[in-house]
């Protein structure tokens, strides 16, 4: 449950507006990684940051409603599967690991196009894996810290300490 004293209407409204744009920007970084700084890892980290933003402002349970930890684990495995699957597909078709030019006959595209699409494919896998891994690491840290997802219990201690020391 979200404690009412930590709800903040301004932060919640802004996060509700911002999160879709953050995620679109993450997809832009992911897809535009060929031509500009960015790529799979960075896009995945920005995606994870949008989820962590939801966790910070809406609380632990609400974030878990968006993406359960079990689903995150499966997404992480799926990302690695996409990466390794494309790599081994190239290996099966007679090339080296991640030799995208061998994919050209399958998808009926030219050689440079096949390389570009292959890179986009593995970047997507990396982004999925990084997003899920970052998200579950942060959620696990928060959960193990306080037992019940009540991440503000530590702050309560500080509150008591601060007020007593200021009263002196």
């Amino acid at each position: 449950m979200l404690r009412s004293r930590y709800q903040d209407i301004i932060a919640q409204t802004i996060v509700r507006i911002m999160v879709p744009f953050v995620q679109i920007y993450a997809l832009y970084v992911l897809a535009h990684g060929h031509y500009s700084p960015g790529g799979g890892f960075q896009g995945g980290v920005i995606l994870a940051a949008s989820l962590v933003l939801i966790f910070l402002v809406y609380g632990y349970e609400n974030a878990l409603e968006r993406l359960k930890l079990a689903t995150a684990g499966r997404l992480c495995s799926l990302g690695v599967l996409i990466y390794a699957g494309i790599g081994f597909l190239c290996l099966l078709l007679g090339g080296n690991f991640l030799d995208y030019s061998r994919l050209a006959p399958i998808f009926q595209v030219s050689l440079p196009r096949a390389r570009s699409l292959g890179i986009l494919g593995i970047e997507t896998g990396v982004a999925l894996a990084v997003m899920a891994a970052m998200y579950s690491i942060i959620m696990d840290i928060v959960n193990s810290d306080t037992g019940n997802g009540e991440s503000h219990a530590a702050g309560h201690e500080i509150e008591n300490g601060e007020t007593s020391s200021d009263g002196k």
Partner: protein
């Protein structure tokens, strides 16, 4: 062309001045609330000025639109972050600095 460069230069220099004031404020002010007061306002304005200078220098194209997006998101995110931080500090019982009790 030259006039455009001069306008861009002036805007970026004013923006750098505001960045400098926010850094000095962050270092010199006495407690958390006044420090965030300095950085929250000056950084937001400085980003607007520097990005406007870059847009003037660059002309109207896709890159200047991206710079404009940076300004928009800084303008949404920076005041909100300042608000959330100061609210959290206040809720944790941090007393604002006053002149009599240091």
């Amino acid at each position: 062309m030259v006039i455009r460069d001069i306008i861009a230069m002036i805007l970026i220099l004013i923006g750098c001045f505001f960045f400098l004031t926010s850094a000095i404020g962050l270092l010199r002010f006495p407690d958390m609330f006044t420090r965030m007061h300095a950085t929250g306002k000056c950084d937001t304005l400085a980003v607007l000025l520097v990005m406007t200078g870059l847009i003037v220098h660059h002309g109207i194209n896709l890159d200047s639109f991206k710079l404009l997006l940076i300004v928009v998101f800084i303008y949404i995110a920076n005041p909100t972050a300042t608000h959330v931080l100061s609210r959290a500090a206040y809720r944790l019982g941090m007393q604002p600095w006053t002149k009599d009790k240091k």
